[in-house]
Symmetry: C2
Subunit: 216 residues, 2 copies
């Protein structure tokens, strides 16, 4: 009943090769033939392990979401929830910078030509938001933020982070308003807008900066 078994290494190998190709030679270089050559099979492997090129890209995007989720999940919950929010912001930004080619496909409307995400794919992206919502809720619970719609506050943070990251990746943020400058202005502005005390916000910013140095 059972035929030749699938090589369990081939699937991740193809995904890795695709990510590597995307990162090193750009989206135009992503082709079944190049991938097959890299992992030492033929182009049909893409069709047995995935439905086609689109599904391989989709799997790669899922991997990208997993990387982002891991990065943000690794941010520990401290007794300073505002510093946690800031640390999450940096985690988001650092991940996007590190895997910028993936980030573009994950969130860049068209991404590769002809490829588009489904609603199911987007659910993976929204997991990012859940982590942020939790941190914002803890800010509200400890009285640092006004108890006003944590979901909306998290959305605003996400929008600001995403806008910053994409304009940065697009090369639009140059001296003197670099991504770092804008990041700090944007995030601290939102925190003060959410109701935090300026003095304590400043302390949390410093704490988050120290945590970032420690973990990288």
């Amino acid at each position: 009943m059972s035929p030749r078994p699938v090589d369990p290494n081939l699937r991740p190998q193809l995904i890795d090769a695709a990510a590597k190709l995307l990162g090193e030679e750009g989206p135009a270089a992503l082709s079944t033939r190049k991938l097959a050559a890299m992992v030492g099979t033929s182009t049909t492997a893409v069709y047995t392990y995935f439905g086609g090129m689109d599904d391989l890209v989709r799997a790669m995007v899922h991997e990208g979401f997993r990387l982002l989720g891991d990065r943000m999940g690794a941010v520990e919950e401290s007794d300073d929830p505002v510093a946690d929010v800031l640390a999450l912001g940096w985690a988001y930004r650092d991940n996007a910078r590190e895997h910028w080619h993936l980030y573009n496909v994950m969130f860049g409307g068209s991404g590769l030509s002809g490829f588009s995400l489904t609603d199911a794919d987007r659910q993976h992206g929204r997991y990012t938001l859940d982590i942020l919502v939790g941190a914002v809720k803890r800010c509200a619970a400890t009285g640092r933020f006004r108890p006003f719609d944590p979901e909306l506050v998290a959305h605003q943070l996400w929008i600001a982070l995403h806008g910053l990251v994409t304009l940065d990746l697009g090369g639009y943020l140059v001296e003197p308003n670099t991504a770092d400058v804008c990041f700090e202005a944007q995030v601290s502005g939102m925190i003060l807008g959410a109701g935090d005390d300026p003095q304590r916000a400043q302390e949390s910013l410093a704490r988050a900066a120290q945590r970032r140095l420690r973990t990288q």
Copy 2:
């Protein structure tokens, strides 16, 4: 000395056809053959009027920047500069929604596969920012905003607008935190953060909303 003259209509026709094709059939449908068929020439026209497919896309992107600039330039300077800023925000968002396929290519990192913007292209994009900077400066000049770095404030507004627009286009903003809800929260938050009086900010918001209804 002079050969057969170039048909002056063919160039804009090709750009329009490309925009139409991009909007109606997606980025994958953009091909020299389809374009040639649409305007009634052969594929070589793309090479005589542009350097190739890339340059045609580039011309289309420039057209997109022009549309955005026109839309924002059409926002009149009133004696309520904060309302002007809000109106500019809506103009940005409305344009992006109307020409979303173009917007994705203009600001979406990879956009079409293999195509990438040059620094010269980005300068067109930054013109958008100049208009915003002017409005923010007028807010500061009239005492509505604190006189603190209008360029940075404009950057923050741009980042928020761009983040909102791209997440919206990507389908990430759903009930109850729709793009409209987030837009208002984001923009009013920034205005208050810039130092405006809450009461006057509310009035400006209402005024900008009325102006928007009037002009569309």
